[in-house]
Symmetry: C2
Subunit: 415 residues, 2 copies
């Protein structure tokens, strides 16, 4: 007998029939002897409809009132799901953020969970009912409704699983797990059976949309075993779990390519202290997040600096720099170059910690395809290279093949 | 400086533009120096859409979950209205049933208000904000969401007005007040300036849709001055207030015709005690409300009994009677007759209490048009006659003219 949290995203509850499927799955899980807590998102499209209604009223709606409206999407799904479970012969009860209660800070539209009371959920389970909790929502200390931001239902699910000590948190989605790379790009991509929180965090921050980053952070913090799986099949998906010894044998878990960044290079900077601070302070003030930064070794008192920013912010970044540090960037833009046609290709794996040579192999694999590396950045379990956009797919296929990701982990050659 | 409650129905908040109008009116009222509490219904059509969604899932949805869904309609309007007020330069905050809080009993889909806390409303007003309260909803003692039944926002408004001691409760609707009779039927119908709770109750129970009966009962119980008026104009509407001396001069306030009833007659009943109880007990058990009952003086040990039931229940009433008391009603239906083609025409007025002869005048006015009266029932301030359906419009016009309702109250002749 286990305590299982099952979270269903917008696509999985996108129609009356799909909600019936959710109900059948929850009942089946309960019949195996489990206590079941279901977390639901709004039906797909509903949140956009609600935001549209608010924006029709006001260009920039009040955040508190926005949350009052946005939270109704999950409220409706929760009640419909409870009805569906009852209709399939089960017992169920919907619970909203203020009923559970899920206490958050007061940052409307992007609140963070502070505490979750388990008593209402436990008393519901004790009656033999399935507890259906509206995702994405909570209340602040004044009882105002708050929402957790896009994808917040993942966070609701993992946080509730942590609060009630669930044995597993199942995240049902429209893909059947986390893959070694994008299967649309590389047909030989493999579903990963087990992945560590750290690797999942790197993959999520590199654009893998399957889990919200904050939910992975929470899972890591509280040791919640997360199972990402398809709501359209019974196949096992991907378990996101604490790092374990079996994983060490896998050097690289996944390969990703992101096309969301642009590169800015400033030439002939004075090679003196304080220059970098002068450049990046105004960007930070403008809420532009700078990702990779590389400064070459100076020569003859001058140096070049290159960094990447989100592609949508590139133009604004240049405007800010020209206004804030004209003595460096200049107004005619002579010293400045930019490139929107780049891609960031990354390999991720906890095995890098104990295996030297991953970077070398990566560079060799790219060189073999005559792909020039423009920038490099590394973390403990990730290596990223900026390359020309046109080589992105080729690079992903070469790295995926070169690191043996098409093979089951046991059959991959060591480095 | 007064404390004003303004309630806007589904038509008055039926679009983004109409909600903007609501916002402007609330701000204008506040600028006159008033504290303003706005109560809103769901946008017109929204409640039906939500109920439809639930019924698509289950033929008979769980009442608790039904309320979770239905309450989102008012939740959305409340937030949109607060946004609209902010957009027009005012300050506002939406408040839901559980935030106010409006405590009800546990009768989901038809809950009754037990208590209303005023503190959240007062603290909102104290900050100079307009409090926008979602109508129709409350919470039971367990924090479950409840709704008050159709038209429940009227009840929310009057109950809140009573709880916070408002100087007036304005009910904005798509008509500009209560009329002496249906203006579509009688062009000379006059808007009534002031009417007593008792008269309004009789008119509402006779089918005048302008105010929900329970809201009038509440207004009467707590002495809330209710102002029924149009959301599309600034004209004064109809005040529903305690009976006052000026009203006594008006003998008849209004004339109505209802087409919602059917008549059942059982002939040759044994004229002994207990027969009526035998007949009506099974109808009450079947939740069929019997309205008018007339039993003739018996002759030769037998009597006839006639009564009316809601037209939609007529067939079921006969089935129940045949099954429950076959020895009286028989299965071949020989002793039983029914007539669906009837109308109940009524005159209402507190002045009847002190003026004899209203009934006589009514009967004379109908006789003058050769309209046969089939049944009569009277209350202290109402006389109703069942007549053939085809004469309903003629009867209303004759009574409206005969009692001088086309004239201003001061110019009407005494009886």
């Amino acid at each position: 007998m286990a305590l299982v949290v099952q979270k269903f995203g917008g696509t999985s509850v996108g129609s009356i029939d799909r909600i019936r499927n959710v109900a059948r799955r929850a009942i089946a899980t309960q019949k195996l002897g489990n206590d079941v807590v279901v977390i639901v998102s709004a039906m797909s499209g509903e949140t956009n409809r609600l935001l549209g209604l608010a924006h029709e009223m006001v260009a920039v709606p009040d955040a508190r009132e926005m949350d009052v409206i946005a939270s109704t999407g999950e409220q409706i799904t929760a009640a419909l799901t409870a009805m569906a479970i009852q209709n399939e012969g089960g017992d169920a009860r919907s619970l909203l953020g203020h009923q559970v209660k899920i206490l958050t800070d007061g940052a409307f539209t992007k609140a963070r969970i502070k505490t979750i009371e388990g008593s209402k959920i436990f008393s519901t389970l004790k009656k033999g009912e399935i507890a259906v909790v509206a995702g994405f929502q909570g209340v602040n200390e004044h009882g105002d409704i708050t929402t957790l931001g896009r994808g917040g239902s993942d966070t609701s699910a993992v946080a509730i699983a942590a609060a009630i000590g669930a044995n597993a948190c199942e995240i049902y989605t429209d893909v059947d797990g986390v893959y070694t790379t994008d299967p649309n790009l590389v047909p030989s991509a493999r579903k990963i059976d087990r992945i560590s929180y750290e690797e999942m965090l790197e993959l999520a921050s590199l654009g893998a949309k399957v889990l919200q980053i904050r939910s992975v952070e929470l899972g890591m913090k509280y040791g919640v075993r997360i199972h990402v799986r398809s709501s359209f099949s019974d196949a096992q998906g991907t378990w996101v779990v604490p790092e374990e010894s079996a994983m060490e044998k896998v050097v690289v878990s996944g390969v990703t390519a992101s096309r969301d960044e642009a590169k800015i290079t400033i030439r002939d900077l004075p090679d003196t202290s304080g220059v970098a601070a002068k450049l990046f302070a105004p960007l930070a003030d403008g809420s532009i997040s700078v990702d990779m930064i590389v400064q070459n070794q100076g020569h003859e008192g001058a140096t070049d600096l290159t960094f990447t920013v989100p592609k949508g912010d590139r133009k604004r970044a240049l405007d800010i720099l020209r206004a804030a540090v004209p003595e460096i960037v200049g107004v005619n833009g002579e010293q400045i170059q930019f490139d929107d046609e780049i891609s960031k290709v990354s390999v991720v794996g906890v095995g890098m910690r104990s295996h030297a040579g991953v970077a070398k192999t990566m560079f060799e694999l790219l060189a073999r395809e005559n792909i020039n590396i423009q920038l490099i950045s590394t973390s403990e379990i990730k290596i990223s290279c900026i390359i020309a956009r046109k080589y992105a797919e080729l690079a992903v296929r070469a790295l995926h093949e070169g690191f043996g990701l098409s093979l089951p982990p046991a059959e991959r050659a060591g480095l």
